[in-house]
Symmetry: D2
Subunit: 316 residues, 4 copies
């Protein structure tokens, strides 16, 4: 059963590129889908993380290209100047989130594919926001302490970019939260038999566009003998059709580490609950402050691949 | 093929009990094996961790009993006053380690079953110590960020007790290092079909003794519906017969986090090497400073169980 | 020369009491001054710090009373129900700050007497905000590492309550910043000959009100043989008349420590500039990223005392 | 009254140079004093800090010269090859400290002029060591949070080089501890009228030697318009004649911060005791765990200068 019917709004945030560039990328992506960017409100959000890590984003540019989507502005659909003006002016994404969810409490799924700065700010501007999403599905963080940003860090990219925002979101959200951790990409990538690139070579506009925007990253991974597998796609598919996508899940309580020199931004999970029964746990000082998070630890790759193929062929 | 021939010496350290109590436990264990404690030198080591965590050890006493081995002094073999005097007087374990390994460089396997304070001090007293062990096999730390001490920590007990010592040992040892991480206990425990308690009910002195020393912990785990599975035994068996014990291993570089508020003592591993080929890694600023550690992620439970049974029956 | 002409708006924030309580306190204070609270817009701000320290505010209640101003609701002027509704509804203080300063760039002095959560959020909602205040005068932080919250912390109260907000504000503000550090209270308090309580016993409404709101804290300090000296008053007086108030200042670059276990929230200042001339400093990797902050290290106590007396007598 | 009669032994440690180089420097210094290096036992100690900060010591070499004493091996007295062999072989400084103080409990003053690695290791090898020194006088740390190593650190050099060792020493020593903090150098340096260089131009061997060993640092400071004032000399003089040297002291409890990103190695002191009387303090959870440390905050510069002059003239 599909639970997601349509996209109400899109917000952008600094990640591997600026929120402004992300805004333009969203507009171009809508055009690639044949959607007029003015039909879905785009709200430009945080241009800096709350605190961040002072890193130079050279690694991301090396991997994703200067614009975050391979740096091929003339490919279909060519970049247009007004892509950069496609957002609703004068309203920060954080304020937009508050306004939208306030109007539709418990009705809307929030899918997070980037750093969580805007969501954290919405929570700070309006503590009630914590109760308004129907659910949050988030690509980010990790379940087994595997990082992907640099050799001396166990943080996943989205959480690493704004650890404080991730900490706030994980701590304060009161609605159901599902996380697609980085390990969903990392661990199946080296084992799965799926050709993750098959949908990029179909003769459709979306296939061409996906081929373009994944071009840079695919090349880099291929040099290491690794496929560019699904990642954000898992989160979106989990939001749409969790019953078919999730093969195995774990419910764990946790927090985002802010203070480690190697672990800043890592999700620190409580595995002692596997050992001890609930009674002992509730004696713990803080236990009732943390709600369990649902982690997708294994997803249905063929099913997602089929969803992607249908999407790319526009027959979903 | 057996690679370990005999025990040259035993050192003790503060862990769930004081080094003095651990010394007495070792002496009693030797007696349970029919060995005169004077035949194998015992060196008493650190009575405090380098820095530690100021915790009160109430949790350990709750689980392991007041003496760390179930608090049943009258069980076979009854505690004797001179168990507490069984160590070689006047020589700290750290100095003993330096002296022993200096005399036999590259000949001796060092098996670590407790906090690493003595080993770290040996490294500090004599930097050359880092090259002297033939190999180090260590029960401690984690490979997937799972902790076992408290709800708000991702550290494993031995590393949590002296994070600085673990950091020094992991960073400075130049010999091959094999780690049996906490997940070897945690993950198979809930799935395996082995009866981990079968060897405790044989009619032999060692079976009786093992029954006694595991009594307290077994009861606690049973209350949570979990078996008291093998743990330190995996490390010792890996030192003796790695080819048969190790079913799956991972080689990962890493360091021990010292500064996290949730992750202090956790092993922070570098999974980016799974993504990037060696060339890119060696460009990294610090990469060549860290040697890969071998982690046992899956061990041969039936084989170890048979080893234990044979040991308990004294027919090894 | 007076540089401050009138109060444009007041924002409130969680500190020793909730932002809601602070809002009511501001309204009551305006009434004690004979000002209709509706004449000066009050914007209610953050009800939680960005991250904070999970402390229970029992110490503050012990010192300041349950409402933060001695808990004497029937004293002049008695608390009114509508004090709690005195703020402009529907506009968060952070959004209000952005709107107000955007309209009057480089014209308005921002005086900060509480935790800096609202200011940090304004900076995050609108990076340009960093350039809009004419100056910021802030009571908070420290210059010599002296804390006042608890035995095991070197953080001053306002910074301790929201270290991340203080970090953001100190790092990102581009306008002149003057800090009245905690040591302005701590060090002169034990030496000065001024009777800091004289203005509380005059026969005027404001004197009575000040007597009420300082009642609780004065009693606590008197038990330790210490006067309740000026604190926030120094910041306000510095904003109004810096030439007469500041006797000695130091210009130092610095940042707010976020990660210490004892120093979280402390201002970490760069004293190496006292040793090395500017040339060497600018070689430093980060030096040009930090602007010097002006610290008031000695203020004119008699002059401020006279200002206070005149204010209390309403003849300023 | 002189309390220090003779030097029983000297230990060396890695600081701005290796422990080996420090050993040679000590031997040369003894020779400059006309003392046969074999008459005073030198124990070579730690060649690495417990954890340290991975820094490259380029700054120290820039300031102190390659050998830590200006790099002028041919000046009086010329370096001799056997200076590097002057230490008692086979006994680590930490073991030597344990042995010496064990034999003379409560009789010997321990003067610390470098990183505290050896002392920390002695405490770890033998917890009783904490009670054996008559007193410890230590040049290192700070009282007002002023650092001297780099722009983004509030740690003083000796504590910065081995924060964990400083933490252990400050926490565990049970005997009276006097600290000469970095501010004793920093704050008077810019104000005092003393010519700190006068004793370097006398026609005596020691004057010549002091001129040599301070040459490099003096030049660097002169370029910034600052005199090379006394530093380690204050600690030694305080050990010899505290009544005349100490003009002002503060007794404060504290700990060494290990986990800050800006404050790692800083002494974090408890100034709340200035506010609250002892009764309230002892209610605090940890208060009785920390003994007050005596900080010299103002010393008698002319008196020390005269001591130095007499020493240089060998008429003390």
């Amino acid at each position: 059963m599909m639970t997601l019917k349509f996209v109400l709004a899109i917000t952008t945030v600094i990640g591997c590129v600026s929120a402004l560039q992300a805004t333009a990328n969203v507009a171009r992506t809508l055009r690639a889908n044949g959607v007029n960017p003015k039909k879905i409100p785009i709200y430009r959000g945080a241009e800096t993380p709350l605190i961040g890590n002072d890193h130079d984003h050279e690694g991301e540019k090396w991997f994703f290209g200067a614009d975050g989507i391979s740096g091929r502005p003339n490919d279909f659909p060519p970049v247009e100047a007004e892509d950069f003006l496609a957002h609703v002016e004068g309203k920060h994404a954080a304020n937009a989130l508050v306004d939208i969810f306030k109007e539709h409490p418990n009705e809307i799924t929030l899918v997070c594919l980037g750093p969580l700065t805007n969501i954290a700010m919405a929570l700070k501007l309006c503590p009630m926001f914590s109760q308004w999403p129907k659910q949050v599905v988030c690509m980010g963080g990790n379940v087994y302490g595997a990082g992907n940003v640099k050799s001396y860090s166990t943080a996943e990219f989205n959480f690493s970019n704004d650890p404080e925002a991730a900490h706030i979101v994980i701590k304060e959200l009161q609605c159901p939260v599902t996380i697609i951790p980085w390990e969903c990409f990392l661990f199946p990538a080296s084992e799965s038999k799926i050709d993750f690139h098959a949908h990029l070579n179909l003769d459709t506009p979306l296939s061409k566009y996906f081929n373009t925007v994944t071009f840079s990253g695919r090349k880099k991974l291929e040099e290491s003998g690794i496929q560019y597998a699904y990642c954000d796609e898992i989160a979106m598919a989990t939001a749409i059709d969790p019953e078919n996508i999730i093969l195995e899940e774990k419910k764990l309580r946790g927090s985002v580490e802010l203070h480690g020199s190697l672990t800043r931004g890592q999700l620190a999970l409580d595995w002692t609950e596997v050992l001890w029964n609930e009674e002992k746990m509730t004696l713990g000082k803080f236990c009732n402050k943390r709600r369990p998070i649902r982690f997708v630890v294994k997803y249905n790759i063929p099913f997602l691949d089929e969803m992607i193929h249908k999407t790319v062929k526009k027959c979903l």
